[in-house]
Amino acid sequence: MSIERIDPELCTGCGICVNSCPMDVIRMDEEGEKAIIKYPEDCMCCDYCEYDCPVDAIYVSPEKYAPLMISWC
């Protein structure tokens, strides 16, 4: 499922992953303390967030699923 988790116990809230993500998938939580996965469907599995995270709090899975084709949306 592409980006799978950001471990809240490990995340220090540095925000590096927010800037690393070219797809704007990650945001800071409302308190601005922890990074959260806000738009997982737009993750492109580039792995930059995981690569850049200084405390290894992020895991990106190699799996990604496309939505079903439907008549309108």
């Binding site: 800037n19 492109m44 792995d47 190699p62 990604k64 496309a66 939505p67």
Partner: protein, 488 residues
Amino acid sequence: MLKESWPTFQDLVAWNVEFPVEIDKMNDYERVTYSKKYQPAFLAPPFGKLPLRHRKTAPVLRKQAEKAGAKIMDRITVTDLLKQDGQVVGAIGFPAESYDLYIFKAKATVISGGNSCFRSPGYHTSMLTGDADGMAYRAGAEITGKEFPDTHFNLANYPAWKSNAELYPAYFYFTDAEGKYIEHSGMDLSMAFTVHAGKGPVLYDLDAATPEDVASMQEYIRKRANPVEVERIGLDVSRGGKYQVIGGSAAGYSDPQTSGIWVIDTKGTTSLPGLYAAGDCCGTRACGAIHTAGGWGLAGAAVTGKRAGAGAAEYALQAEKPVIDEEELARLKKIVYVPAERKGGFSPRWVTQLLQNTMTPYFILYIKHGERLQAALTIVEFLRDHLVPKLMVKDAHELRLAHETKNMVFNAEMMLRSSLFRTESRGVHYREDYPRRDDPPWLAWTKIKEEQGRMKLLKEPVPKEWWPDLSKPYKERYDLRFPGESVE
């Protein structure tokens, strides 16, 4: 381009960018390629030698820019260029997290919005949605080379994961369903030809690797690739195996700098006063009709960035202070927020999916025929005229998606129209109904320009000094063959 990439690379070295490869210690052959057996001249030095996950350049470049007095603003989606009296005088956009409007006024503007794709999986280009081409075209610039698609592929088991891209510069060995080696000349259409002939699936055949090949791959993974990328999908090159390969990993993407904004000199000057182009969106035509070598995009970006920066600075020194036309600003501002103001309409993600389904099949994008191109164009025109104007969003993140979707649809139209216009085959542009190069009529570049609200196609002849030797028989002039091509 190659010549100037070396001193540009040395700039990075002088600024203390850390590189895991010792470029200076390589001999000339190693500078060119890792894979001695299958892929001569695959990697363009020196940028082709960098790890695919090299993340240490950008922070250094940012520091250098800030040291020179630049103010960097991140996470802003630029939607359109601003014009006044025929000159580009800046751009407008909005930030990732709100509907605020940002207006950038500039004596000179460098556009470096990257290449294009249809959010295709596996090559990590989903953020490159043809925005630069779209903005420049709408402002009146010319766009070139859209008929030459990129042909990246990936492993079928994890199509979104950049996995075999980590390996194929070290081992480029693919077979068809009958186990026959697929003859190729780099990033060409050979896999699409195989599939079209009913000889798929294409297989990445590690069983055919010699111990030397395996050692070469292992060295490559260690030095240039990210081992995690390979390990996470359970790929152990020493175990061998046959892995099915899928196409379209960068559908919508074009060969770096073959396509993009037409530039009229080596300073990145476009046909629009005040606008300079750099990077993948800079249509230098240096790459030609087929992908030249790995690392080419990065080398080209480094060189054109340096050149365009200097060109824009020169222009800015003599330019008047920019004045923004309030009427034009109001018009563009309205366009920015239309999707946010709609109460009903269509989701950008769904329209993108429709576009992917229309454009990605191999028989549209790679194996072309006039009838199929026209059919796809009919659908794309419908998306453009009926769905894109009714895109609807619920926040700033989706507003970005809406603008990107608009530009992807626009990019698809340009690709289809350029492909229809070039009535021949050349490089990675293959027309079943015109399976032969047409010299000299098509020793020419295509250009697209807006005229009365429509795309006008133009032909720009390649200078005669760059022509092939036309006194040679066709068969000798070109050694890459197309299916159905007559060589007499």
